[in-house]
Amino acid sequence: MATTTQAAPPIAPQAAPHWSNVRVEPNWLARLFDWKPLLIVACMLPAIGLLMVFLTYPLGLGIWLAFTDTTIGKSGQWVGLENFQYLMEDRQFWQAVFYSVFYTAVATIGKFGLGLWLALLLNKHLPFKSLLRAIILLPWITPTVLTAIAFWWIYDPQFSIISYVAVDALGLRDRYFDFLGSAWPARWSLIAANIWRGIPFVAISLLAGLQTISPSLYEAALLDGSTGWQRFRYITFPLLLPILAIVMTFSIIFTFTDFQLVYAITRGGPVNSTHLMATLAFQRGIPGGMLGEGAAIAVSMIPFLVFATLFSYFALARRKWQQGESND
C-alpha cells in the first residue's frame, strides 16, 4: 500500500492560493518498507527463527535419528523401520508403554479427584484464605528433583519414615515396608508421589475457574430448593468443564512425559517395571549410548500425546468458543 502525501488544507478561507493535489512519489526504500509481504516476513522472522532452531530442528533431528542406528561416538546410517521393528518385540518397551498409560491414567484421575475437591474446599470462605492457597502451591513450586529425593528417602527400604512410624514407633508391623522392591508396590508408590506433586496445579487452576462462576446462579438454584449435589452437578461442573478440559490436557501431557520422579527414585527398576517411555528413551539413548533406539522410543510417544490432546479437546471441550466460534 502506497501512502499519498497531501498538502496541508488551507487554514484560512481568504485568498485561497493556488492549490493542487501534488502526489510525491516515495522513494524505493520507503516503498519497500511499506510493502506488506516484506513487513510480514520481517516481523515473523525472529519468531520463526527461534522456533526453527529450538523446536523444529531438534524435533526433526529426533525423528531422523529414530530411523538410523546412531550410537554415541558413531554417526549412524539410515536403517528405516529397524528400530521400531526391534521395539515391537521388545518386552521392556511394551512394559514401558503399559506403565506410561497406566501411570498417566491413574495419576490424572487421582490428581483431578483430589484437586477438584481441594478447589471446592478452598472456594469456601475460610479464615486465612490467601495464606492457605499459597501453602497449597508448595508441592508444585518445589523443584521436582527435590521432591523426588524426598520421596526416595520416604520409600527407602531401610530408612523410610513410614516404616519407622509403623514398625518402630507404633509397632503395627514387624517388618519394614518394601516400597520399591517389587513391581506393583513400586508402581503405586511412584503414582502416589506424582499425585502429591500434581494436585496443587489442578486445584489452583480449577479454583480460578470456580471463581468465574457467578454466585447469582447458586442463589437462583437455592431459591428453587436444589440440593448441594444438584448445584455441583448442574451448575459448577458444566461451567467448569471448559477450564477442566484445558487443565486436563496439560496435566496429561506433563504426566505422560514425566521423567525426573521416576529416574531419581527408581531409575526404572525394579527390573524395568517402572520405566516410563521417557525414562526408557533416555536410558537407551544416553547411558546405553543407542541414540537411534532412544529416539525411536521418544518418537513413539508422539501418537499418544496427540491422541490425549485431541481427546481432551473434543470430548471435554463442548463449548464453541473453545473451537474458535463465538458462544451462543
Binding site: 554415541i72 561416538g73 527407602d156 513391581a183 531409575r267 527398576g269 546405553g288 549410548g289
Partner: protein, 442 residues
C-alpha cells in the same frame, strides 16, 4: 568444575598437597624403578593442555591430582587445565570431543573408551613401554585395557582401577560361626542363611546400580564359569553355567536384607553404615567413610575385606573399573600431552596420589605394589592387586563398546534381578539377556 591453574593456584595447591607430597616422596623411595631412558618428547612451543577426568570419589583424588598437575605446569611451563566431570557424563563428553575434533587434549575416560575411539586418538606405545620397563611391567588389566586388541600398540594409558570385593563385619561372621567368607558357593549360601538367622543379613545390589549391581551380577556368573561373550565376541550368556548361577541366586537372594532389588549405588553404603546390612561388596570408599567419621569408627574397626568366593573358577571372579587415559588426534601438542601422562605416572607424582587415595585406585604398574599405602592398613591387602584380576567387563570377548553398553543397560543385573524377584525362570532370564546382548554385539 572448570579449573584453570594460575600461578597463584599452583602455589596454593602445592602448599595444600605438601603434606601428602612430602609423605609421598619418602614413600616413593620404596617403589623400585629401573633407570630407563625416557622417550624424547620435546613439548611443542607455546603448548597448553586441557584434561578431562571423572570427578573424585575420595577427596585426595582431586587435590593431589591437581597438585601434581600444578607441578607439571611449574616444571615445564605448559599451561594445564583439568576439568572434573560427573562419572556418568564423561563418556558423552568424550564422544563429543572425538566426533567434533575439538575440546580436551587428554581424556581420562573409562575402561574401553580408547578402544572405541581408536581411529581418533594417537598411539602411546613409547610412553607405555617406557613406563612398563621402568616400573616392573603393567598389571594384567593395565595391559588388557592399554593395548589395542591383538596388537602390541598402546592406545590408552591405564591410570588405575577400582574394584569391589566383599566387605563384611567380623563380629557378625563370628556370631554366625565363620572366621572368613567361604570360598565356595555352598559355603557362602550357608553363611548368608546363618547371618539372616541371627538377624544380621547380607545384601548385594540387584537394582540399577552401575557399579555395585554389575559387580555382583558379574561375580555371580563368572564364579559359576559363565561368561557374556566368547573370545570372538559372540554372545554366550545363555549357557548351563549361567542357569546354574541364576538357580543358585534364587536361594541366596532369600537370605538378603529386603529391598536389594531397589538398591542404587549408594544404598549398600548407607545400609552398611546403619547396621542394616553386615556383608556386601564395595570399593574401599565405604571403609574410609566409616573410618573418618567418629560416629562410625567402631563399625570400621569391625570391618574387613575379602575377595568374593572364587566358586568354580579358582581365581577371584572380579574385575576393576579402569581409569584409562587417551590423547586425541586433534590435539596440537601431542608431545606435551604424552609428557604430561608420563609425568603423572612417575613415582614422584603417582605414589603420593596412590597413597592419598588410600587404596581407592589400585595401581596399574607392578612396582607400585611396594607403595607404602598397601602396608599402611592390613585391611587394604585385597585392593593391592586390584588390577591383576583376570576378568574384565565383557569377559571373554575383546574390549569393545558393546561391553560398556551391556553394563550401562544393566543387562546382566536385570537378568539376575528378574530371577531373584521371581518374574522369570533362570532359563527365561538367560534367553532375554542373550537377546538383548546380541543387539549390542551385532
Amino acid at each position: 568444575m572448570a579449573n584453570i591453574i594460575t600461578r597463584r593456584d599452583a602455589l596454593r595447591l602445592t602448599a595444600g598437597g605438601a603434606a601428602a607430597l612430602a609423605l609421598g616422596s619418602q614413600a616413593g623411595a620404596q617403589v623400585p624403578r629401573a633407570d630407563v631412558a625416557a622417550p624424547s618428547l620435546a613439548p611443542e612451543k607455546g603448548a597448553s593442555l586441557r584434561i578431562l577426568r571423572p570427578a573424585r570419589f575420595v577427596e585426595p583424588d582431586e587435590t593431589i591430582f591437581r597438585a601434581n598437575t600444578a607441578k607439571f605446569q611449574q616444571a615445564t611451563g605448559i599451561e594445564t587445565r583439568v576439568d572434573f566431570v560427573g562419572w556418568e557424563d564423561i563418556r558423552q563428553q568424550s564422544a563429543v570431543a572425538a566426533n567434533t575434533g575439538t575440546g580436551p587434549d587428554i581424556v581420562l575416560g573409562w575402561a574401553e573408551d580408547p578402544h572405541v575411539y581408536v581411529d581418533k586418538i594417537i598411539e602411546l606405545s613409547d610412553v607405555a613401554e617406557y613406563l612398563g620397563k621402568r616400573y616392573g611391567g603393567w598389571t594384567f588389566l593395565g595391559e588388557k585395557y592399554g593395548k589395542k586388541q591383538g596388537t602390541n600398540n598402546w592406545v590408552g594409558i591405564p591410570f588405575g582401577g577400582t574394584t569391589g570385593p566383599a566387605v563384611f563385619r567380623r563380629s557378625a561372621l563370628k556370631e554366625a560361626g565363620f572366621s572368613s567368607i567361604p570360598n565356595d558357593h555352598a559355603g557362602l549360601l550357608k553363611l548368608c542363611q546363618e547371618l539372616k538367622r541371627i538377624n544380621k543379613p547380607a545384601g548385594f545390589a540387584l537394582g540399577n546400580a552401575v557399579g555395585d549391581g554389575n559387580g555382583f551380577a558379574n561375580w555371580l556368573i563368572w564364579s559359576h564359569g559363565g561368561y557374556l561373550v566368547d573370545e570372538d565376541g559372540k554372545v554366550a550368556i545363555n549357557s548351563k553355567e549361567t542357569i546354574a548361577a541364576l538357580t543358585f541366586l534364587k536361594d541366596l537372594y532369600a537370605s538378603f536384607v529386603p529391598g536389594t532389588l531397589a538398591w542404587g549405588d549408594p544404598s549398600n553404603n548407607r545400609a552398611y553404615a546403619a547396621n542394616e546390612v553386615w556383608l556386601t561388596s564395595n570399593g574401599v570408599s565405604l571403609y574410609f567413610a566409616l573410618k573418618n567419621d567418629p560416629a562410625t569408627r567402631a563399625i570400621a574397626e569391625d570391618t574387613d575385606h575379602q575377595f568374593m568366593p572364587f566358586g568354580t573358577v579358582g581365581k577371584a571372579p572380579q574385575t576393576s573399573l579402569i581409569l584409562n587415559a587417551m590423547v586425541f588426534r586433534h590435539t596440537k601438542f601431542p608431545n606435551a600431552a604424552k609428557s604430561y601422562i608420563q609425568f603423572m605416572l612417575e613415582s614422584e607424582q603417582y605414589d603420593p596420589w596412590l597413597t592419598g587415595c588410600l587404596g581407592y585406585w589400585s595401581h596399574t604398574l607392578r612396582a607400585y605394589s611396594k607403595s607404602a599405602v598397601w602396608d599402611s592398613d592390613p585391611k587394604l591387602e585385597v585392593y593391592r592387586n586390584g588390577t591383576e584380576n583376570q576378568f574384565w567387563s565383557g569377559y571373554k570377548g575383546p574390549i569393545s563398546h558393546a561391553a560398556g553398553t551391556v553394563a550401562a543397560e544393566y543387562v546382566m543385573v536385570q537378568m539376575c534381578a528378574s530371577v531373584a524377584s521371581g518374574q522369570a525362570t533362570p532359563e527365561e532370564a538367560a534367553r532375554e539377556a542373550e537377546r538383548r546382548s546380541r543387539r549390542y554385539y551385532r
